[in-house]
Symmetry: C2
Subunit: 145 residues, 2 copies
DNA sequence: CTTTAATCAGACAATAAAATCCGATTATAA
DNA sequence: TTATAATCGGATTTTATTGTCTGATTAAAG
C-alpha cells in the first residue's frame, strides 16, 4: 500500500527536492539521483522526463547532460509535482471511497477528513523548494551514510 | 491512485458501516451489500470472509445466510478494519517515501506529516461504530437514490 | 570529424492489486 | 429427506503499477 502518493510521485518529489538542494551545480545526471535516493535509474529518468514535459524540469542531452529545475526554486511548490504526477484526485475523493461527495451528503468522516485534506494540501503548498532546502540537505546527508 | 486506503479497505469500511447500520436485522447477504454499495458481489464476499477470520465479522452459511458484526457495535472502531486489511504501515511510513524515518533524521515535511498522521489515526479511533450509525444511515439513504 | 557519454523514447517484463469464476460445502425450508 | 440458496475457498483473469531493456539521438570533448 502507498501512504498517500504513488511510488512514481514519491520518487518524483524526492528527486525534485534533491535537484533543489543542488541548485548551484549545472545539471545532475540521473545516475547520481538513482544512486543517492536508491531509485532504479531508468525509472527516475522516466519520471523526470514526464516532469520535463510538465515544464517543471529542464533536461540537457548528450555528454555531461542531466536534469535541473526549469524554474527558480522559489517558484516551485511540492503540490506542483503531485499535480503533475498523481493529479488532484486525492483532494477531491472520499477517504472511504463513497461516490458523490458533497457537503449535502456527508459520509461519517466528513468533518475530520475535510480538515485533514485541507492540511495535507497546505503542507504541499505553504513552502517553496528554496524554503525546504536546508531540511532536505539534512535528510539527504543521512541517506548517503 | 487510492486516496489513503486500498480499494479492499475502502470496501471493507463501507460494508462494516453498513452492517452496523443494519444492526437490528439478523444477517445481511453479500448480494444486498453489493447492490447498495456498488461493490462486485464476489469481491465484497471475499473481503468479509477475511474480516471473519479477523474476528470482526460473523458469517452464517446456508440458505438465509449472510454477514453480521461479530461484536457489539460499541466494541468496534474503524481502525480495527484498517488494521486487519491494510495494516498499520501508513502510520509508520513517510509521505515522501524516504527510508529510515525517525525524529533524528526528519524529512522536510516531518512536522506537518506527523500531525496529520496522528489526526488520521484519531479519526479512525475516536468513535465506535454505534456512534457513527446515524451519519452512516444518512449517507446510505442518498446512495439508494 | 570522430569518439564517447549521456538523455530520449518507447517497447517490454515483472509484480501487485482488483475483480471474476466455479466447484464444494453448508444449513434452511419445504 | 430432498431441493435450494447461500457462503466458502481457491483458482483464475484482468488491469494498473512498477521496473527494465535497448536502440536512436544528441551534444560535448578530444
Ligand atoms: S464529504 Fe464525506 S463522503 Fe465526501 S469526501 Fe468528505 S468524508 Fe468522504
Ligand atoms: S519523520 Fe520525516 S521522513 Fe519520517 S515519516 Fe515523518 S515526514 Fe517522513
Amino acid at each position: 500500500m502507498t501512504v498517500i502518493f504513488s511510488k512514481k510521485c514519491e520518487y518524483g518529489l524526492q528527486a525534485i527536492l534533491y535537484l533543489a538542494a543542488n541548485d548551484n551545480s549545472d545539471v545532475v545526471k540521473s545516475e547520481e539521483i538513482s544512486h543517492i535516493l536508491n531509485i532504479p535509474k531508468e525509472f527516475i529518468s522516466k519520471i523526470l522526463q514526464s516532469l520535463t514535459e510538465s515544464g517543471l524540469v529542464y533536461s540537457k542531452k548528450g555528454k555531461s547532460g542531466g536534469f535541473a529545475l526549469a524554474k527558480a526554486p522559489n517558484k516551485i511548490r511540492l503540490i506542483d509535482i503531485v499535480t503533475a504526477i498523481d493529479g488532484m484526485s486525492m483532494f477531491n475523493n472520499c477517504v472511504l471511497g463513497f461516490p458523490h461527495c458533497s457537503p449535502d451528503h456527508p459520509c461519517p468522516l466528513h468533518e475530520q477528513w475535510g480538515e485533514l485534506r485541507t492540511k495535507a494540501y497546505n503542507m504541499l503548498t505553504d513552502e517553496t523548494l528554496d524554503q525546504l532546502k536546508e531540511k532536505t540537505l539534512k535528510k539527504i546527508g543521512h541517506l548517503k551514510n
